[in-house]
């Protein structure tokens, strides 16, 4: 092995320090002083004093109904999105791996929405949920299904689930495809010869061997859904009456909307702890279920 001489130390510094400098000033220092900000009361104006208030911000956020409601809605949104994105992504992946001639074209089309930014997707769907749905309701008479989804709290939340699913289904599809292609063909063939039907082959062979793909897809959808902001902003702006204001937007509004920098930062720290706890727990649980073959 190459010995660690003085000149090697110099090379080490030359190669790593530039990125470490950027990374430290952009991620590490803000993270550390962010913890400090969560213990003060401050309105964001540099001339005004930052008053140390101890744990007051953390106590206050537990009493903040709007924050707790937004937490609940974020959970509701995440659970629905998690199920829908993965069911659809998995279904798409099974469909495009049937080796049909148009499989590639279909895959390309299913993935397209993922490349478009959340902000722009939200605006496209805003048009659909408001005007196109009203138009469909008038034409078909099914106005219990086709009405302006964005003016009712519950349907507005479902609308967000749909847009997020539209964006993420193609993404999980790509990961499931990679998983399916890693399963040896002989396994399915052998089961078919033994008389297993399609459903048995899926549940007994394909799904267990896809566990690593499930781990990745659940992780990506879980953290993506929990942290959603752009679609929230462009589709509903948190409305009607803050009913769809999810976690990330609540924090943003608390800090930059109301100028409660300390309280907002305390929420942001809680948000980080929740994201870390939920995603790590999920990875540990699904990792345990992965099988070897």
């Amino acid at each position: 092995m190459i010995l660690l001489t003085k000149s090697n130390k110099g090379w080490f510094a030359l190669f790593t320090v530039p990125l470490l400098l950027v990374f430290t000033t952009v991620v590490i220092i803000p993270f550390i002083i962010g913890i400090g900000y969560s213990f003060v009361s401050w309105d964001g104006i540099p001339a005004n004093p930052k008053v140390f208030v101890g744990l007051d911000n953390y106590i206050e956020l537990l009493k903040d109904d709007r924050f707790l409601t937004s937490a609940w809605h974020t959970i509701e949104f995440t659970v629905l999105a998690l199920v829908l994105v993965n069911v659809l992504g998995l279904a798409f992946s099974l469909l495009v791996t049937m080796k049909l001639r148009i499989s590639n074209a279909a895959r390309t089309m299913f993935f397209l929405p993922n490349l478009i930014g959340g902000l722009i997707l939200g605006y496209i769907w805003q048009f659909i949920f408001t005007d196109v749905f009203k138009f469909l309701g008038d034409k078909t008479g099914w106005d219990s299904l086709f009405f302006n989804w964005l003016i009712h709290p519950q349907s507005a939340l479902y609308a967000m689930v749909i847009v997020f699913t539209w964006q993420m289904a193609g993404y999980t599809m790509i990961i499931y495809i990679a998983g399916i292609q890693g399963i040896p063909d002989e396994l399915g063939e052998a089961a078919r010869v033994d008389g297993a039907n399609l459903w048995q082959r899926l549940t007994k062979i394909v799904f267990p061997l896809l566990m690593p793909s499930f781990t990745i897809c659940l992780f990506l959808t879980l953290s993506g859904a929990f942290k959603i902001f752009d679609v929230n902003l462009s589709l509903t702006k948190g409305g009607p009456n803050n009913a769809t204001e999810l976690f990330a937007m609540n924090i943003f509004n608390e800090i930059f909307g109301y100028g409660h920098y300390g309280l907002g930062q305390a929420k942001a720290i809680v948000f980080f702890i929740l994201v870390a706890a939920v995603t790590l727990t999920q990875v540990i649980i699904t990792k345990k279920k992965e099988v070897q073959y």
């Binding site: 092995m1 190459i2 090379w11 030359l14 190669f15 790593t16 530039p18 990125l19 470490l20 950027v22 990374f23 952009v26 991620v27 590490i28 220092i29 803000p30 993270f31 962010g34 900000y37 540099p46 469909l95 495009v96 049909l100 001639r101 148009i102 074209a105 279909a106 089309m109 299913f110 993935f111 397209l112 929405p113 490349l115 478009i116 959340g118 902000l119 722009i120 605006y123 496209i124 048009f127 659909i128 005007d131 196109v132 138009f135 993404y171 790509i174 990961i175 990745i216 990506l220 902001f229 752009d230 976690f247 990330a248 943003f252 800090i255 930062q265 942001a268 948000f271 980080f272 870390a276």
Partner: protein, 278 residues
């Protein structure tokens, strides 16, 4: 499956894919209709193709400027991420000591921090750098590029680190014995071997940076500096009710993405799969 059932399966699949993309269809057809036609027949093809809403949206969004800003910021940020992260990751893999491990673990463990946890203190740090060191970090393209590099460093180092571990060290040792400097070894021998993972890193970062709204919205306030997501946001603030104009604007923002997808499709899909599996 026999021929007939394959045919019908193909037909069903293509119909499903077309239905899935129906929002794109609705956006396209309504970008050509006037107000009356849009409300009378929202689903139909337009009676005529007039591009008047496109030219109006282009002007209102300052589309050319926004496109230029997005392109410049994304390309320069990605180049910096690729160059700095690959160099760092290589050093961390090839220098087997405690310090390397600590640095690597720091990169990896920060990957879980949501942007919302960092955004406010980050603005304070950048403001402090501007005030004390007189480096214009806020409201400049350079400042945004700097922050983009910082935020995408962890993921890139993580991906490069995993890849470099599987690259044999023998070639590098031979080159060192021949008197090649570390710099030369890295750029002439190692970096060309990292091509696949470089493509993955570049693709993931291009998509994320091109579409990013929140960070640019916090750092850029000049109208002339707006990126595409920013100008779309302000455009919607002013013209929400005029859906035909809005749809033309949205179509404009999607064209570069679709063009990129057409040319780099193979790499994008491979890159996404590789980036996620790691």
């Amino acid at each position: 499956m026999n021929r007939t059932s394959r045919m019908s399966a193909s037909t069903l699949l293509i119909l499903l894919a077309l239905a899935f993309l129906s929002p794109i269809y609705l956006m396209l057809v309504n970008s050509f209709k006037d107000r009356a036609e849009l409300y009378k027949s929202a689903l139909a093809l337009p009676k005529s193709f007039s591009f008047q809403y496109y030219s109006k949206a282009m002007e209102k969004m300052s589309f050319a400027t926004a496109f230029g800003n997005s392109l410049f910021i994304t390309v320069v940020s990605v180049i910096f991420v690729v160059v700095l992260a690959s160099m760092t990751a290589w050093m961390l893999v090839r220098t087997d000591n405690k310090l390397s491990q600590i640095i690597f673990l720091t990169f990896v463990s920060t990957m879980l921090i949501p942007f919302q946890t960092l955004m406010m203190p980050l603005m304070q740090v950048m403001d402090w750098i501007r005030g004390t060191l007189h480096i214009p970090m806020l409201n400049t393209r350079g400042g945004l590029i700097y922050m983009n590099v910082g935020f995408h460093a962890s993921m890139a180092v993580f991906l490069y680190h995993g890849f470099i571990k599987s690259v044999p060290v023998a070639l590098e040792e031979a080159a060192t014995l021949d008197g090649c400097s570390k710099f030369g070894v890295f750029w002439r021998i190692v970096f060309p071997m990292l091509k696949t993972i470089t493509i993955t890193v570049a693709i993931l970062d291009v998509i994320a940076m091109w579409n990013d709204y929140l960070l640019p919205s916090l750092t850029l306030s000049d109208k002339a500096l707006r990126t595409i997501p920013l100008s779309t946001f302000y455009f919607f603030g002013e013209f929400t009710i005029q859906w035909n104009l809005a749809m033309a604007g949205l179509t404009l923002t999607i064209i570069p993405v679709v063009v990129f997808y057409m040319f780099a499709q193979k790499y994008i899909i491979k890159g996404i799969a590789a980036g996620a599996v790691k």
